[in-house]
């Protein structure tokens, strides 16, 4: 049975041993977290100001606020108590207390801001909300709290059609300096523009290696399309993926916690920014990725991670590739690189193992004359004209059986003189009908030597 992470195990095995009282104190305090991240030169949203008492509320300079901002409780939980406004209207909105004000001959209009859903929030609404935050109505354990104003992240064009009003963010779960799982969190109408899954936001699983989205979750149910639309959630490439992973590890190291959910947003101008840290990351991410988290955590437990770069690489290598498996499942075809190991079968029990170049430019599979001789493949069926690197020639055609990525294929192949070429065998498109080709793959080893920087002429 897959090792799914439950709440009991998360709390006892991962949260408790991974935190000190100090790290929890930092993470549960957003302003303190920001201060510590800023010291490490980690990008965070700007803070415009904060209010920690009724007195400060009455003395606050409202004109110093920009027309768009996010108002947050310092020790808030799960996105509660966050108010985001998009624009300002000066003296436009009739005050709710206008009868009283009119009686005293005062201005009955007051300043207002516009919320995500288009409704207006007046200054007195905002003051009321701040009073609620300061009273501790949104904080952990209902203790008195601080309200602060924060820069509103500017949404990337790419994400616009996928999210309702709010800003999507990327949750990366980090353990032992290694990113183990991540999801893109898309705000919906139901979640009122917030990216919290339990409020109704959509979580989209991400392939750890490439940063491409896979499947998704909404209210703990697996989905493939954005609810209420025909937009597929599969295959979205998250920009700056490598940087996002590194940023998440940096943040984890800055607060000295071993298990953490890092929320990163991408600003149109500033790039990836750390929005928030979460000591108790939610577990629905496992449904978004259709992958058990406990299994991954156990795999990276105790690994020595010497650098941030290495941590990101380990996470990518260990937990990537889900996408490929999925593509294979969906298409019923296997994904291969441009270079693959191949086994050729000859007369009797004779076999030859080598690397083949996958070549969609060639129609027919072609093998080197020396291999044909070695395997006693001498029964020439016919001759066919072929246009090779050496001009037009007639090549002998033989009956050939080979195995590529576990698939056994019987075909007609031509014999050519390939002694001076990098690859003994090329596989042509006639025999590639059961495969999909990923040209970014196949830079592996050839005869034990890395060919990534191969200086030899790349003849086929």
């Amino acid at each position: 049975m897959p090792k799914v992470l439950g709440i009991n195990a998360r709390n006892l095995l991962y949260i408790k041993p991974s935190h000190t009282r100090r790290s929890l104190r930092i993470i549960d305090n957003k302003l303190l977290t920001k201060k510590i991240l800023e010291k490490q030169a980690i990008p965070i949203p700007k803070t415009f100001g904060f209010i920690s008492s009724a007195k400060e509320l009455s003395q606050f300079d409202w004109n110093a606020l920009p027309s768009s901002f996010a108002l947050k409780p310092n020790r808030g939980l799960g996105g509660q108590g966050i108010l985001v406004v998009f624009g300002k209207k000066k003296n436009k909105v009739e005050s709710k207390r206008f009868l009283l004000l009119r009686a005293f001959g005062k201005n009955i209009f007051e300043d207002a801001w516009i919320k995500a859903d288009g409704s207006a929030v007046t200054l007195s609404d905002i003051k009321n909300h701040i009073q609620n935050i300061v009273d501790g109505n949104f904080s952990l354990g209902n203790s008195p709290d601080i309200a602060f104003f924060e820069e509103r992240i500017k949404i990337l064009k790419l994400f616009k059609e996928y999210s309702y009003k709010g800003i999507p963010d990327i949750r990366v779960v980090i353990y032992n300096s290694i990113p183990v799982m991540s999801q893109l969190r898309l705000p919906t109408k139901e979640s009122e523009g917030k990216a919290n899954l339990h409020l109704g936001a959509v979580g989209v699983g991400i392939d750890m290696e490439t940063g491409v989205t896979t499947q998704a979750v909404h209210h703990d149910k697996p989905i493939t399309h954005l609810p209420g639309t025909k937009l597929s959630l599969r295959g979205i490439q998250i920009p700056e993926w490598d940087n996002i992973l590194k940023l998440a590890i940096k943040a984890q190291r800055a607060v000295k916690s071993n298990f953490l959910g890092v929320d990163i947003s991408i600003d149109r101008d500033r790039g990836p920014i750390i929005l928030e840290l979460n000591a108790r990351p939610g577990l629905a991410i496992q449904i978004a990725n259709m992958a058990p988290l406990k299994e991954r955590l156990e795999r990276v437990k105790g690994l020595k991670v010497t650098s941030i770069k290495k941590g990101a690489k380990i996470g990518q290598d260990l937990f990537g590739g889900d996408l490929e498996g999925e593509v294979e499942e969906l298409s019923g075809k296997k994904v291969i690189g441009f270079r693959e190991q191949i086994t050729l079968f000859g007369e009797g029990d004779k076999q030859h193992k080598t690397f083949a170049k996958i070549d969609t430019g060639a129609y027919r599979t072609s093998i080197c004359r020396t291999i044909a001789d070695e395997l006693s493949l001498t029964n020439i069926l016919k001759y066919k004209p072929a246009r090779g690197a050496l001009g037009k020639e007639d090549r002998p055609i033989i009956d050939l059986t080979f195995e590529l990525d576990g698939e056994k294929i019987r075909t007609e192949a031509s014999i050519a003189s390939r002694e001076h070429m990098t690859h003994d065998v090329i596989v042509g498109r006639r025999d590639l009908k059961r495969f999909l080709i990923d040209p970014s793959r196949g830079l592996g080893t050839l005869n034990g030597v890395s060919t990534k920087n191969d200086k030899r002429p790349s003849n086929t």
Partner: protein
């Protein structure tokens, strides 16, 4: 032990209820850690379960719902007036208490209804409103309703187990053994890292893919 307590003026039913307390708490812990029923902490389900024992199950649920609903209505009314949190909560409690008193003559009393304990049950329901509304203002109506239903279910389980005569007999006969069993169970549960029953349902798509 029970004999010693009885000889020194502590009635047997008092000892029984005090010993039932850790058992009731353990029942709540098992429901949370193994089954995954949420509920408002340990205190509320245990108090409710004990209250049901003094009022009878049906009457208890009826009173509880009346108190919660009247409290909710009063709070909604008060929301239109801007009031500080604590005075508002006190007003909600006042309103719920008055409503409970007003409807109490109409309730079909049964012989299970034991005064003065039943009056205390009412006090417990009314006082639970504070925690209930704190949750409501934080998490919203939908979530609160769900957790209230789960709390109610837990309370009923606590009620059924604590009023189970076989268990009551065991506790009275072997009080030390009871305590040891409770301690052992909780030590085990404290180290339990397995999936909760509710999580098998929540993650069924990942587990049984």
């Amino acid at each position: 032990m029970i004999d010693f307590l009885t000889q020194n003026g502590i009635p047997q039913y008092a000892t029984l209820w005090i010993l039932m307390l850790p058992i009731a708490a353990t029942v709540v812990v098992v429901s949370r850690q193994i089954i995954g029923i949420k509920g408002f902490g340990i205190t509320m389900p245990v108090l409710f379960g004990f209250s049901f024992a003094s009022t009878g199950l049906e009457m208890g649920i009826m009173i509880m719902l009346i108190v919660l609903l009247s409290g909710y209505l009063i709070r909604s009314l008060l929301n239109n007036v801007r009031l500080l949190y604590l005075p508002k909560t006190a007003l909600v409690i006042t309103g719920a208490a008055v409503t409970a008193l007003a409807v109490s003559p109409l309730l079909p009393y049964s012989k299970e209804f034991q005064f003065p304990l039943a009056a205390f049950a009412l006090v417990i329901f009314v006082l639970s409103l504070e925690q209930f509304y704190a949750f409501l203002s934080e998490r919203g109506l939908k979530k609160t309703t769900a957790v209230t239903i789960e709390t109610l279910a837990l309370s009923i389980i606590v009620f059924l187990i604590t009023t189970w005569e076989l268990l009551q007999g065991l506790v009275i006969d072997h009080p030390i053994l009871t305590i040891l069993a409770v301690v052992a169970t909780n030590l085990f549960l404290g180290k339990w890292t397995g999936l909760r029953l509710s999580e098998y349902i929540r993650f069924k798509d990942v587990i049984f893919k």
